[in-house]
């Protein structure tokens, strides 16, 4: 796994590149370690408060540890009327955790998201940003087994 310090230094001369750096770190770690925010503040020559302010403004970025595979359930109106609540219940049951939690083995985290632009296939979830559409309770074990 690439060190976040190396990742940050690859972006530090890019104007406004802090968000790109955060993306790259998250791609590697599945989240942004707290210490990486401090390192980013130094590299981009801004206060820690600012670097933290940027990282926490964006809901796609997550500061602090979470599971290796991030499952996000779309709860925007089109997915909501298509039965997102049933998908939530089925995923919670399958993984034995509640929304917002991570499985004990650190393998999966469950999160809500707003629309991810795949509304031809509601209800929809993403795992590490890969979309799975027209999700039903029956399909869930098979999808989870891929990870």
């Amino acid at each position: 796994m690439a060190d976040y310090k190396e990742i940050i230094s690859a972006y530090k001369d890019l104007p406004g590149g802090i968000i790109e750096a955060y993306h790259a770190i998250q791609k590697e770690y599945s989240y942004i370690p707290e210490d990486a925010v401090v390192a980013a503040a130094q590299a981009f020559d801004i206060s820690k408060a600012r670097a933290y302010g940027v990282a926490t403004f964006y809901s796609y970025l997550k500061v602090g540890k979470r599971g290796k595979n991030v499952i996000r359930i779309c709860e925007s109106a089109p997915c909501h009327v298509a039965g997102a609540d049933k998908v939530v219940a089925a995923l919670e049951k399958e993984l034995g955790i509640k929304m917002g939690e991570t499985t004990e083995d650190g393998k999966f985290t469950l999160e809500f998201t707003e629309c991810v632009g795949q509304c031809q296939a509601t209800p929809l979830i993403t795992i590490n940003s890969k979309p799975y559409g027209d999700v039903t309770t029956e399909k869930i074990p098979g999808i989870i087994a891929e990870y």
Partner: protein, 407 residues
């Protein structure tokens, strides 16, 4: 009967999007070469005269916008493509970029030439990493072929903030800041990215540019509604038979979209409502389905064309429950910079939750209406101004649904 007309999606399914040769063989990059043989003013006038208006929601004349940047002297100017596509129900920009990335690059390069910008950014939402890959491949190919000349394009990723679709919040985000909207004026055309003149246009707007240069302003002006000419790409979702993407001339009606191309309500159920333009759009009842979909006709009925998302709801839909969900969306997405939006979206959600749970009263309805009016007028950016739209239009068009829930 509605018939599809593919201008923006002219290469959809016909070319391999990852092969620049395919695009070039289909006539691609000829419009850029043609533009470069004209004066900058001639290019701007051609776009202006075509009547093309922004497809990102605000409907501003594209050529006019370009002329502001052209007329502002600066050592550096920018072209920014808004690919943030955060309006729930919308997936048209994804379809365009996935299937014909070069048409967007060509449109941006034409704009760059016209206004005197050598650098372009595509701000693509972080939820589309697979689209970012397509765009980066296309840019690499275009550079290798030398078709872009001295115009450079870079992709930047959004990170899950709906407000970053608002153009000044988007610019803040490219600069590496929290995506909070700026006060306007100055408008981006004059002082945008890093304070420099910046044209911000939607993906679909740019995708219209090459063909306008190829076939001419008069050709384009003759298509669809005279005041909002051309086509619009619609994405259908909800309780509709064909949940897919269509491109239609702008003089079609909502009925053509939902019942023509859309194939009507799914499962043989009856129609209840359609929300067009994304989650900030108005809720439209059956009686208004014969309205033309163009920007001005939609505004006239208190609705919006917006992004072209078409969210169909059947007779079994609990509208108040949908509205509660929508008010939660806005509470979540408000950036918190201005008070009417930060507080208003929160209270709006609170009241709707109360009404939806059967504990609301007539007084709650009255205060919701008043809060909606205040937000529409007092919020800093379009997010807060449009947030009450779904509430206000359902109060107007579907009042019995509220009454049925009052405690």
């Amino acid at each position: 009967m509605a018939e599809e007309m593919r201008i923006v999606l002219r290469n959809y399914g016909k070319i391999d999007p990852l092969k620049i040769e395919d695009y070039i063989n289909a006539g691609g990059y000829k419009s850029l070469a043609k533009a470069r043989g004209l004066s900058q003013i001639q290019v701007i006038d051609e776009v202006k005269n075509s009547g093309l208006r922004g497809r990102g929601g605000a409907g501003f004349n594209a050529g006019m916008k370009w002329s502001f940047s052209y007329n502002t002297p600066a050592d550096q100017k920018y072209v920014v493509c808004n690919a943030d596509e955060g309006e729930p129900g919308t997936y048209k920009d994804r379809i365009i970029m996935e299937n014909d990335p070069h048409t967007v690059l060509e449109g941006m390069a034409i704009c760059g030439y016209a206004v005197g910008a050598t650098k372009g950014y595509i701000y693509c939402r972080g939820e589309y990493p697979y689209v970012v890959d397509v765009l980066n491949k296309a840019i690499t190919q275009a550079k290798a072929q030398g078709v872009l000349g001295d115009f450079d394009i870079e992709v930047r990723m959004g990170a899950g903030a709906y407000v970053c679709g608002e153009e000044t919040a988007l610019l803040e985000s490219i600069e590496g800041h929290r995506g909070e909207p700026r006060f306007k004026p100055p408008f981006p055309g004059v002082a945008g990215l890093w304070g420099k003149p910046t044209v911000v246009n939607n993906v679909e707007t740019f995708a219209n540019i090459p063909i306008i240069l190829e076939k001419g302003a008069d050709w384009f002006k003759g298509i669809g509604a005279p005041k909002y000419p051309g086509t619009k790409v619609f994405t259908l979702t909800g309780d509709v038979v064909n949940k897919t993407v269509f491109e239609l001339p702008t003089n079609m009606t909502i009925r053509d979209v939902v019942f023509g191309m859309g194939g009507g309500v799914a499962g043989g159920k009856k129609f209840k409502a359609v929300q067009i333009g994304g989650t900030s759009g108005g809720f439209i009842p059956e009686s208004m389905l014969d309205t033309q979909v163009d920007f001005d006709s939609m505004n006239a009925i208190g609705a919006t064309l917006g992004s072209g998302a078409v969210f169909v709801m059947d007779e079994t839909t609990d509208l108040i429950d949908v509205i509660e969900r929508i008010t939660k969306f806005f509470e979540h997405e408000s950036c918190g910079k201005c008070t009417p939006c930060r507080e208003g979206t929160k209270r709006m959600h609170e009241i709707l939750k109360k009404i939806n749970s059967g504990k609301g009263s007539g007084a709650d309805i009255a205060i919701t209406e008043r809060l909606g009016q205040v937000m529409t007028r007092a919020c800093l950016c379009g997010l807060g101004q449009a947030a009450p739209g779904p509430v206000l239009t359902t109060l107007k068009n579907f009042r019995p649904d509220y009454n049925a829930k009052l405690g």
